[in-house]
Amino acid sequence: MKDLDGGWFTVGACAGYVLLLFCDLPLVRYYPLSNTWTLHALPPEDGPQMAWYGLFAGALLAGTVTMVLARMMRLSAVRGEAGVGVTLAALAGCIFFLRGFFA
């Protein structure tokens, strides 16, 4: 636990979040109208879906896996500049993904 690098978590979680967002692959989907959690998209009769919880859960998983793998492969800690760069790129990816709303 002591040797796990939070920088690798940030890199994995940010990259994972954007990847899942672009591929529309949240870990779970929530349908608030019927209070249903599901792994797959349901038909429109079930009301609006919420992917945010599933995207975030996926990002947490991606970050944890990346951090543990980096430890197992004995990789050195992520440079601060690289971590900030990946975080910025993830934000830019989200803005690009949402550009249709502002057209």
Partner: protein, 155 residues
């Protein structure tokens, strides 16, 4: 009533978080650029030691995002359809950007913690300032966007 209470808690913790992050950014900036400091209000405001803010900022960030996540379904069922009916696609997009920004900020917290824990390391000063500035920008944006959207159509 629960939703309103959670919304108020969400807003109040966000306000505290915004203040703490702004203080930390300006405190760190004044250390990097000592000429920014002085004897006046600005000098005293930026003269704080920025490191002790770190733990509080992490706790406040989580405490802000939790009630937001709990009231999200109410937004999805009651507010977003109203925005769509009014043809306010940009408002829907603004909320989406707020939520994705909040999630990316949360994912960045472990790096933020690590960069602030390396006591006095000169080579991490600029990444430390950059990640703190990034978090401050996300929180300021989310706060203003949240207020704007709540004024358009409240919960």
């Amino acid at each position: 009533m629960i939703v309103i209470t959670l919304l108020i808690v969400h807003g109040l913790t966000a306000l505290g978080l915004m203040g703490a992050l702004t203080h930390q950014v300006l405190g760190e900036l004044s250390r990097a650029r000592p000429r920014l400091s002085g004897a006046g209000f600005a000098g005293r405001y930026t003269a704080v030691a920025p490191r002790p803010f770190t733990g509080v900022i992490v706790i406040l960030y989580i405490a802000t995002i939790l009630p937001g996540a709990l009231i999200y379904p109410t937004y999805r069922l009651d507010v977003r359809p109203a925005f769509e009916d009014m043809g306010l696609a940009w408002a829907v997009g603004l909320f989406e950007l707020k939520e994705h920004g909040g999630a990316i900020g949360l994912a960045a917290l472990p790096l933020y913690l690590r960069l602030w824990r390396k006591d006095g390391a000169e080579d991490t000063r600029w990444p430390r300032l950059a990640i703190t500035l990034l978090l401050a920008t996300i929180v300021w944006f989310d706060f203003i966007a949240g207020h704007l959207l709540n004024n358009l159509r409240g919960l």
